[in-house]
Subunit: 289 residues, 2 copies
């Protein structure tokens, strides 16, 4: 596996693959890989000849009070795991390589970033879209892979790619969960054993909502309240938001009559976790909780 | 010459050129071509195998009180002129092709857009960088050509391309002028004969500044005042700005000790004209006024 740290090096690697007529799949990550990331890489490997991943903890998507400094990092472990699922190249740039002195350009998606995590984390999506635009330009993949765990992020990146005429396909991969339902996240490492148990309220409440919908419930505020009540019953949990919007446009919705995103952000101790489910009303089947 | 109106068509055209191993030069324009545009195309033709131009009057770079609706348009004449200098393809999209319903992504360069035309025309550069980012992604050229007449625009686009790791070269082409010194501009068509004569004060004042520098003047406020006084002596002229900043960083400068951009925007009647010169102190030679 090829490991490099500069834009010039990864560009050369990708160009050589293209010269051989190979297609390129790309998985951008912040490292500290878990099964969710590996699933993205497996999907990329299945669909593309060559798989490139980036490992870059992007400072511009963290707020000043957030966990940029203490975000978990372990390059050696990441490289090992990526190698095991057949990744061909790891691009691991420094902050200075991505944001050199004098850097001053930002990509911003409006409207759908003004809800959910966009409200809780001002500037977060501007950091995400900026770094992803850069990485897309650097790697120039045919397909890029993102997890449904970050549901709003996927929608924002798809919007950006379409709006800016980026010549690639954004592929969404279902959330990967622990056996007990907890969505995989690099931030799960922050949880102690008691918090880890409390964190199950996220997926359990989503599941309860899906069951209510399957049983015929269509009133959005009733469904939302069911989730809120379940989370409030967990003493270690503090709600950041619990919201239901139409999917994929993220417009307010009163009565379910099409796919809707039930998304939540909950703090367990100092750790902010997110999870979501798409509530479908046609076939009464919800996705992978 | 190939003329098309959709993203899919121009992409196909460029891909076929690439398959033949040809390099691609790109000249984005708002049409109503003049000798300045043609010079960009000739330069592109000289450096690249295939030359693509776009003709698109971009609504997002006009303010609500500006001249979007009355901006001059003449596609037939433009196509004729482009053909004569050897352009291979004209991409002439509709507004809906570039900004379909639901469009909400913008590219923004900070700092260097906060001066000069960025101050006079809020949102102007955001519109420019957004549409140019899109056009770069659509056409995927090796080189893109811009005129020094829009000095700040060139700096902003170079900054964007570098910051976002766009894989192309931005080439600056010197300002083309009428025999009497007036910088070529599609907006010159707005001027009547008397205004046309008055408009010469722009290039004359820049020339006077260059001569003062050649004679040893280094004090920026003295140089600026010389230009201001000359323009104020022209009754039909109304100054929007006359500024001198370091080039290319556009930082304030008190004493000339390196290349500096003397840029001005002046209204002649309802018509806002811009012009500029780079004041060099090393060789006492200024550029093309």
């Amino acid at each position: 596996m090829y490991i490099c740290h500069t834009v010039a090096e990864i560009r050369k690697f990708v160009r050589e693959a293209r010269t051989r007529g190979q297609t390129v799949g790309f998985v951008p990550t912040m490292g500290y890989l878990h099964e969710g990331h590996l699933e993205l890489m497996r999907q990329a490997k299945e669909r593309c000849d060559v798989v490139v991943i980036s490992i870059f903890v992007n400072p511009t998507q963290f707020g000043p009070q957030e966990d940029f400094a203490r975000y978990p990092r372990d390059l050696e472990r990441d490289v090992q795991m990526a190698g095991e699922v057949g990744v061909d190249a790891v691009f691991n740039p420094s902050v200075e390589e991505i944001y050199p002195a004098g850097y001053c350009t930002y990509v911003e998606v409006e409207r759908i970033t003004e809800r959910l995590c966009g409200l809780s984390r001002p500037g977060h999506f501007r950091g995400v879209t900026t770094v992803v635009a850069k990485l897309f330009n650097i790697v120039a993949p045919d397909q890029a892979f993102f997890g449904q765990k970050d549901a709003q992020q996927v929608l924002v990146i798809k919007r950006m790619a379409a709006d800016l005429n980026m010549d690639l396909e954004v592929v969404t991969v279902p959330t990967v969960r622990e056996a007990d339902g907890l969505a995989m996240s690099s931030r799960n490492v922050y949880l102690d054993a008691v918090q880890r148990q409390a964190a199950l309220v996220l997926s359990r409440s989503l599941q309860a909502a899906a069951e209510a919908v399957a049983a015929g419930q269509r009133d959005v505020s009733t469904i939302r309240q069911l989730v809120v009540d379940m989370i409030k019953a967990e003493p270690l949990a503090e709600i950041d938001y619990v919201e239901i919007y139409s999917h994929p446009d993220l417009e307010p919705v009163v009565t379910l009559n099409g796919p809707a995103l039930l998304a939540l952000a909950v703090k367990i101790g100092r750790t902010r976790l997110i999870d979501n489910i798409i509530l479908g009303v046609r076939d009464h089947v919800s996705n992978n909780v």
